[in-house]
């Protein structure tokens, strides 16, 4: 299955206008400075926000089409969405959180095993670390057998070491999934490490040269790199 989207939306400071496709088993990394519209794009894919114009087509299914007035609800899109935080329901322990919408509850144990949080299954989200919460959030998303996986800066609230570990696990996990994955980050190193394809989003448009410019910019060259979090430092890890 392939997801292809093209949409336009008026935002406060600029207009969002871009299109892309991502095939099964591919990870497309969306990168760009903060406030560039990446999260808005992900939310429109998930059906949480509505574009002004455009289409979102998943395989043969039309999820959104402004001319035909089609807008499939998030419930029916059957996708996985991992946020930076707040995926887990505070009143449930990790196991119940992951099993919340699981297709097969038995699978949750395997996922916990795979993501190394089996020993925490009875803990509530506030009792575990941020990294462990995000592992559980990934289990929650995968247990639903998503047809499309959206990861919106899932590791950016974590410390560098944890982030690097999870990043590697995610890369090895990718082979086991048979769905397109869209990953949002503003960390260039993360993008280079994970991506099959890279989409640079700057002020709502696809800016192909952005990454190159950001990495190679000369000191004092100005604003091209604003928002990319310490790109030179990031390359060290």
């Amino acid at each position: 299955m392939t997801i292809s989207a093209s949409f336009k939306r008026r935002l406060k400071y600029y207009d969002l206008d871009l299109s892309f496709t991502c095939a099964t088993n591919k990870m497309m990394v969306m990168i760009g400075p903060s406030g560039g519209g990446k999260t808005t794009i992900i939310r429109m894919l998930a059906g949480l926000e509505t574009p002004d114009e455009g289409q979102v087509i998943f395989g043969e299914e039309v999820w959104f089409d402004s001319t035909r007035r089609i807008n499939v609800t998030p419930q029916k899109r059957r996708l996985g969405y991992v946020f930076q935080d707040y995926n887990l329901f505070p009143h449930l322990n990790l196991l119940d959180n992951a099993a919340f919408a699981a297709v097969d509850k038995k699978e949750v144990d395997e996922l916990f095993e795979l993501l190394k949080i089996s020993h925490l299954r009875k803990r509530k989200p506030y009792m575990v670390s941020g990294g462990e919460r995000q592992r559980c959030a990934i289990c929650q998303a995968l247990a639903r057998h998503p047809r499309l996986l959206l990861l919106d800066e899932p590791f950016s609230a974590l410390d560098v070491v944890t982030r690097r570990g999870l990043r590697e696990e995610l890369k090895s996990l990718k082979g086991r999934l048979s769905c397109p994955i869209i990953y949002v980050t503003h960390d260039i190193n993360e993008a280079l490490f994970l991506a099959d394809e890279i989409l640079s989003v700057v002020e709502g448009k696809n800016d192909v040269g952005w990454m190159q410019r950001t990495i190679t910019r000369e000191p004092g060259e100005g604003t091209t790199a604003k928002g990319a979090r310490e790109p030179r430092l990031a390359l060290v890890y």
Partner: protein, 219 residues
């Protein structure tokens, strides 16, 4: 001691609380999550019973529940009797009198839940109704319990509204607060004192409970 009046009071408070929790939850949900023009007007209307003198509420309820009011007529069609001076009548009055105390804390608790949790529930396939039952309610138990306690306390203290709508029929509409009033009127201070005294531990215990619930919901 007028145990019958105490019994009617407790029965009234329990029924009021139970009915109001069920009725107020969807209203609170609606107020917490929807936006529409004129919302603040509707909200103020719902909270109006809190700001009106109880006798004013009682007056309008007499009009509505009387033989010429639509509630009274509807009740007569179905039961053949009068709604005024009955337990059902004072229950309706007590419910209307306590609506703000049920809606307000529940709305506050619902509104406090992070939007992203709800969005995640939708993405995981839950309808809005299921999200309400499986995510919103379990995460606002503190607020719901606080609402229940407030309604309960407010109903055991009701006086003016109930006196106007229900009068003072022993075993039917004569609640403890009315019994105290009547005992004092007839100079029977010891009877009044006993009933009054029985309120103190009940109210005090419930206030402690509210404090505990508020603390729990903060952590």
């Amino acid at each position: 001691m007028d145990y019958l009046a105490l019994f009617v009071t407790l029965k009234l408070a329990i029924v009021t609380t139970a009915v109001l929790m069920v009725l107020a939850a969807p209203v609170a949900y609606f107020l917490a999550y929807s936006k529409f023009p004129g919302k603040s007007f509707l909200e103020a209307l719902i909270y109006l019973p809190m700001a009106l003198p109880p006798t004013v509420i009682g007056f309008y309820l007499i009009i509505l529940m009387g033989p010429k009011g639509w509630m009274g007529r509807l009740w007569e069609i179905f039961t053949g009797g009068s709604l005024l001076f009955t337990f059902v009548g004072i229950t309706i009055a007590s419910i209307i009198y306590s609506i703000p105390f049920a809606v307000q804390p529940m709305k506050a608790a619902f509104a406090k839940i992070d939007r992203r949790l709800l969005e995640n529930a939708y993405i995981l396939g839950l309808s809005k109704r299921d999200t309400f039952v499986r995510v919103i309610i379990p995460n606002s138990l503190g607020g719901i319990a606080a609402a229940a306690v407030l309604v309960f306390l407010h109903s055991i203290g009701a006086f003016g509204v109930l006196l106007m709508v229900g009068g003072s029929i022993p075993g039917e509409t004569k609640v403890a607060s009315i019994a105290i009033y009547e005992a004092v009127e007839t100079m029977n201070y010891s009877a009044a004192g006993l009933i009054a005294l029985s309120f103190i531990p009940i109210s005090y215990a419930f206030l402690l409970l509210i404090n505990k619930l508020n603390k729990d919901s903060l952590t």
